[in-house]
Assembly symmetry: C2
Homo-oligomer: 236 residues x 2
């Protein structure tokens, strides 16, 4: 934990989904399985986020699955693959629907839930992907709502995406904490007035050009422990 200007526990934790709850490392295997270099997965996902966020910066939006499949086709075209490009795109994209949660998520979500904090997700992807992920992990009943920016009409980190989640939950921005592995998501939520928790599983440095998180934890159980040491919110 770096610093802690927020005096009490959040009423609601708004979880990012991709990479924050889901372990996306099998996506690289999917690239290898179709005959493409595994390292393309990282470039592809960064480009997917770049394009979706670019639409947000320009005031527009498109579904993550559409952006993902389109960029995948571009990245795979002209490479020697073990199947045709359509089948390769299908194989990689279907990896999204079979991901598992990171090892620390089951315990961490249980502990956060037992602190009495309401849990929701807010994904730049579809709510169905989040639902499948949490169903497979046996965690769906811990979450009050599974939200997607598709209903907000704009991706995170635009302020309107966070405002949508706050309105759905009926809380003010400072009563909610966005928890994500992506610094750009932490930054956007901070600028939108939410408390923020950066989940730093890999021990990376936090970029100076983004607003700093209110809390930093290496795992969700660590975050639960740190939040548990704060005074609970009293009903107002």
């Amino acid at each position: 934990m770096d610093d802690m200007p927020k005096p009490s526990r959040p009423r609601v934790i708004v979880f990012d989904v991709n990479e924050t709850l889901s372990d996306m490392s099998p996506m690289a295997h999917r690239f290898a399985e179709v005959g493409a270099p595994a390292h393309l997965a990282a470039t592809w996902f960064a480009a997917l986020l770049r394009d979706g966020i670019a639409l947000a910066a320009a005031g527009a939006a498109a579904p993550m699955a559409e952006i993902g499949a389109t960029l995948l086709r571009t990245k795979l075209s002209g490479r020697p693959l073990d199947r045709d490009v359509d089948a390769a795109v299908e194989h990689v994209m279907s990896g999204f629907t079979g991901l598992a949660v990171h090892r620390d998520v089951v315990d961490g979500v249980g502990q956060l839930s037992e602190l009495g904090i309401r849990l929701v997700t807010l994904s730049n992807g579809s709510a169905d992907i989040a639902r499948g992920l949490l169903d497979r992990a046996g965690l769906a009943d811990r979450f009050e709502r599974l939200l997607s920016v598709e209903q907000a009409g704009i991706w995170k980190p635009a302020a309107r995406a966070y405002a949508y989640a706050l309105a759905e939950c009926g809380v003010a921005a400072p009563e909610a904490m966005l928890v994500a592995v992506h610094p750009w998501d932490v930054d956007g939520a901070a600028r939108a007035g939410l408390a923020t928790g950066w989940l730093n599983r890999s021990g990376e440095d936090y970029p100076d050009y983004f607003r700093r998180p209110d809390m930093v934890a290496a795992s969700l159980p660590e975050l639960a422990r740190d939040l548990g040491s704060l005074p609970a919110v009293t009903d107002r």
Copy 2:
């Protein structure tokens, strides 16, 4: 050329710089020179754009050189390199200041200039990088202005970045054409009301989720030829 709703030549062409005018392929060699995989260059640059554009979506901004160096340090840390991380970051970043223009740029810029079209640049990077690039290519005197979003306070593809360039040039949006290799830049300019030209050197498909360019060319001479076949703008 795909379609052409715009009836006459633009008064001003607003060029993107990185990858549109500059050939960034030597950046991959720089990664290899410090002992890192060359393919990291693509992931790094996509992540750099993702973070800079994320700040734009959240209404903020940071210099490209700062974002680039920060992400480079993260990507290089913990890898076996042939020098320490600071020196490796310095070596890769200094590659930016020595890039050359793509092969088609000298002829294409000359031909566009001879059509009487005013030429400016608008980069998400610094104006100094653009100045060095065009100086080395002997093209600086073909350009009326070298603009950076640093003066706009927000990166492309936010509408305010394009509006800044239009104001500097004293033209209305439909009188200007943004020319870029990046579909997200074409999309943002189109949403800001500019005409757009997509430079597609690699024969990729244009993503359906972005607004389509008004013109498509495989090289700048091809763009100059296509624009030359349109009626010149008469003074109004």
